[in-house]
Amino acid sequence: MSRQLGDHHRRFLQTMMTIGITSEKEAKTLYQHCCETHKTQCAPDRLEEFIEAINSRLQPMFMQIRKGMSEEDGQQHYALVNTAETDITRMTSDYADNELELFRKIMDLIVSSENGKASSTDILNSADMMTSKKLKKGETQQLLLRLVQDKWLCESQGEYNLSTRCIIEMEPYIRAMYQDQVKVCHICHNMAFQCQICENPSCGIKIHNPCVARYFKGRMEPHCPACDDFWPHEIPEVRELHSLSKR
């Protein structure tokens, strides 16, 4: 059902259009701010409902505020995404065809990698094998910079991974394109790129780093939740109270 929106909804949406993605915590603050600005009653625990109301009017426009987890810190985030695969979506209007081809190649590299990352060397090499107009080395580097600026990719020490915004927005696409390859976290069942993998060859389940942290927290000897083999990886610290647990 689509609902009537107030100015507090509209302001929230406008801010989302500016920032693209926000953590759940920030979203709550923003929700409160929007209600105060427009003197509307605010129920802090009803953010979901508030966003649902906006979505009811956005979805016919092929847009949505979608929730998803950050692989970095395990926190829930909201991202404003396009839901249409048409030729007028954001990426296609911002990037040339050959740049999109390289972006798809980067996705290939990331999805097929063990650790959810692609090195700049591998990316430069795959730029050499493009079918559309080839990108020069400098152009590829410029493109990578832009993809990071536009929050599609994240970079750290010469390696690139998909940003949280990108994972949330592209999830349907990635699941459709990489049906056989895409990994799913054993704990939260979302797609997993940066994760730990069970070393038992007949098991091999994946768990997001923040999910590992939460799952094994306080356990003396970590064992795989699927095959019960010893979990040989380093267990990261839980970063900040996970907002999901409050819900």
Partner: protein, 278 residues
């Protein structure tokens, strides 16, 4: 100053291609051939379509305008008809009417026709902003906004029209030399005389009968819609430690809105000239 922005990516690649002159001329030609259908034509057109078809087309138009507006470039009716509306041109007035309603009801934006002759649209913010409310969420701001604000201020304070040289001299005093590459803005002259003009923040016209050729600046349509003169005067007052009312003529113009149609609220939008356009 930072409030509204849209899906935050902004790159001009495909855009700059669109700007090429040949395309523009072609679109202008198109527009001549596009005649606004009469209301009875629209009525008949609607009878042939299902409501879902019209909704779908409206959604496409909304998305197209949003994407274009990221770069602050006005959308031409001809381009809209050619790229999106296509076979639905007989019901074009109905589609635009619905799109306007969606922009207002869902996004808090107003679709404004800035040039009735060439039929160009821009989006401006439609929400009232109480002055005290700063958003708790940090929005990335565009450094060029400051540059634009200074230029608009100079034009406004000098009575609405300013010779090109006066702008360059003011900028030089602020250590922004149009002849040199600027760290943040790049080619300053190009940003001011091309980008701001294309976005309709500024008008840049040749002064007739001058030798050598000289140009002058005025406020563009978008500036009229989005930028608050009262806010500029407030800013000048702080800068010169002077009561804004002491510029009586400007004060009157800012507060009666004689040539500007908008209020302070829409000034918010001026800042969002999008982020990564560097």
């Amino acid at each position: 100053m930072t409030q509204r922005k849209r899906p935050s990516n902004t790159l001009r690649l495909s855009q700059s291609k669109r700007q090429s002159n040949s395309v523009m001329t072609q679109e202008e030609d198109e527009d001549v051939t596009f005649t606004q259908p009469s209301s009875s034509q629209v009525q008949r057109g609607l009878e042939k379509l299902t409501p879902a078809q019209v909704d779908q087309k409206t959604a496409e138009v909304v998305q197209y305008i949003l994407v274009k507006d990221q770069k602050k470039i006005p959308v031409r009716r001809a381009e809209l008809v050619k790229n999106i509306v296509k076979d639905y041109r007989t019901v074009y007035p109905e589609i635009i009417k619905r799109a306007k309603r969606i922009f207002e009801q869902v996004f808090g934006l107003k679709l404004v026709e800035i040039d009735p002759k060439n039929h160009m649209y821009i989006l401006v913010n439609n929400l009232d902003t109480p002055a005290a409310a700063a958003s708790p969420v940090k929005c990335p701001s565009n450094p060029k906004t400051g540059l634009l604000f200074v230029i608009l201020s100079v034009i406004f304070m000098k009575g609405g029209i300013v010779r090109e040289n006066q702008i360059w001299n003011t900028l030089k005093k602020l250590r922004v030399d149009p002849g040199q590459r600027h760290e943040e803005f790049g080619d300053v002259r190009k940003v001011v005389t091309e980008e701001f003009v294309r976005q309709r923040y500024l008008e840049y016209t040749r002064i007739p009968h001058t030798e050598p050729i000289e140009y002058e600046f005025r406020w563009g349509h978008r500036a009229d819609m989005e930028v608050s003169k009262a806010q500029i005067l407030e800013f000048m007052g702080q800068l010169h430690e002077q009561d804004p009312r002491s510029w009586s003529q400007q004060y009157r113009e800012a507060h009666t809105g004689s040539s500007s149609s908008q209020n302070a609220s829409s000034s918010q939008t001026s800042s969002h000239a999008s982020t990564s356009r560097k």
